[in-house]
Amino acid sequence: MPEDKPFLKKMIDGDGETHIEIKRHRSKVILLLGIVLTVITAIVSLCIGQTAILSPIDALSSLFSAISKSGNGLTNEEILIIEDRLPRTLATIGVGIGLSIAGATYQALIRNPLVDPYIMGVSSGAGTFAIAVISFDFTFFGLFSIHSNYLSAFAAIFGGLLAFGITMLLAHRAGATTNAYVLSGVVVGLLFGAVQTILLKFSGHKVTSSMSWLFGSFSNVSLEQSVIIMVAVAILSSIILTKAKELNLVLLGENEARQMGLNVKKFNTIMLILASVLAAFCVAFCGIIGFVGLVIPHLCRMLFGGDHRLVMPASIAFGGCLMVIADLVARMALNTQELPVGAITTLIGVPVFAYLLIKRGKIYNG
């Protein structure tokens, strides 16, 4: 009886009778909510900041006039929007979406809903090389100039993928089981973590900038960098999204999925690589932002169910706008200075994680 449905459920499910109708309705809700929430939070993000608070109309008109002037003879307000707030907003949305998609993918492949995109060691590897660059002027043997905007980003992607590669090698030698992936990721993470600690010990006065990278921040992203993040996230997420049906299938286990006609080993390897490259791009310019990739897919599952044809689009819809909200908190919580956004997401994420573990851990243990 439709009148008995709670409001939220009715909004999400619509009046559909069959499962297919309900899922189709849910996809429309996700699409609509995703667009509306992302646009609203993006506009708020353009309006609010430490330096000045603009009205939405001022912010948008400055944005459009700056674009139409193609960067020449900009007013202060236009400069603020185009060089500071727009890149920051784009990067935030991109990273939020990227980490959520990477997290949801890892959770399906490893068949454990409590893993995050860093489980394969990506964050520790990225952090180690980023600190080497920031604190010790490591330039990859002269490949980059020390002042290059892309030096630390390159280092992070390189380190992240190196750690991922070692994890994959180790896991494959250990039988490529779910446990092998998780445990290999943990030890490789510890290894790079140890190197990181040693580097930090000798960082001297640069320890603060290293630490702020480790906790993640969107404050120094350039427009060019934000476009790179957006493009990488758009391409990689789209590819992963097309494999949502197969991600449902691998939840049944390797043998079952194979029997249903999927080449599981190849599929798992390709998807792990895509998700890790995605995670590496996300940490490259903004540092390590924890718990987003774990909590958002979970939230989507609680709202829309476990079918990845809904979880993946919902992670895109909510990943971006929730990341923007976290960044707004990081920007505005203190009057005097910004807080690292990774610390904010972790502060919010840990209690959510604890709640999930206690409330729903049993369901997931099978």
Binding site: R111, K245, L252, E256, G306, D307
Partner: protein
């Protein structure tokens, strides 16, 4: 027989990489519309043979034909439309409901479609009702009892609409009531156009429900035929090295009572 058999296994040999010869020159054929029991001690090559039939394992030599066509050149998706599988143990999945799990049985037919069709849905609903798990359709799979979970997995294999269904030790974790329950469902599922091959250790249960029994020992096929004729005290002694009483109850059903192991433990 002039009719093309549903399944024909021809001189199947499977040698694993470590040299273990799991199936030795096994040949048999099965017509459509039967419930067939596959019986033999642990390690006699039952599961290996089933995995060769649905191409989970590559075969060393021989051929496997379904409706007269070899499965060897077929793609995994093509095989999945002919053969479905109920595993002995279910990997824990998370997030999917009973309905969604059974719906995954339609995956081999989805091709490039994003959503299943209304026909797929009504087929799943009908099957859930048939298996008595319709009321559980929105529950998470992980919180079901093992008997319920087994029924869900059989329902999933059923909506795959195969010609041949392979069921590996379906009652191993179940009590007496659920054992009967599962066998009743398997019995009821056999249709004119589908045969079910069940590997199982409970010989009495197999004798009661199956139309045909295949007995294997150390990778070789020992006997195939009507369980009431094939299952004898001599056969049990030969295949299992076990002294057993094979009797008939008042309804004419065969039962097997194992009494004593007469083989050598060191072997």
């Amino acid at each position: 027989m002039d009719e093309v058999p549903l399944l024909e296994v021809r001189n199947l040999n499977k040698v694993y990489e470590n040299g273990y010869h799991a199936d030795k020159d096994v040949s048999f054929s099965l017509p459509s519309g039967l419930l067939v029991g596959l019986i033999g001690p642990n390690g006699c090559g039952k599961t290996t043979m089933m995995r060769c039939i649905n191409k989970m394992h590559s075969i060393t030599s021989g051929d496997i034909l379904i409706d007269g066509e070899s499965v060897l050149p077929k793609t995994p998706a093509e095989v999945a439309r002919l053969v479905s599988n109920v595993p002995a143990e279910m990997t824990a999945s998370f997030g999917l409901t009973v309905f969604e799990t059974v719906m995954l049985g339609r995956y081999p037919y989805l091709q490039n479609m994003w959503w299943e069709t209304e026909e797929d849905e009504s087929m799943v609903v009908e099957t859930l009702k048939k298996f008595g798990v319709y009321h559980l359709q929105d529950r998470a799979l992980n919180i079901l009892s093992s008997g319920e979970r087994q029924r869900v997995m059989i329902a999933k294999a059923y909506v795959q609409n195969p010609r041949l269904m392979l069921v590996d030790e379906p009652t191993s974790h179940l009590d007496m009531k659920y054992k009967l329950d599962v066998m009743e469902y398997l019995r009821a599922m056999v249709k004119q156009d589908m045969t079910i091959l069940v590997a199982e250790h409970d010989i009495s249960l197999m004798a009661r429900y199956c139309d045909l029994c295949i007995i294997m020992k150390k990778g070789e096929l020992v006997a195939i035929g009507d369980p009431k004729k094939v299952i004898t005290e001599e056969l049990i002694r030969d295949v299992y090295d076990v002294e057993a009483s094979v009797g008939t109850d008042k309804d004419g059903e065969i039962f097997v009572l194992p009494k004593k192991f007469i083989g050598d433990y060191s072997l």
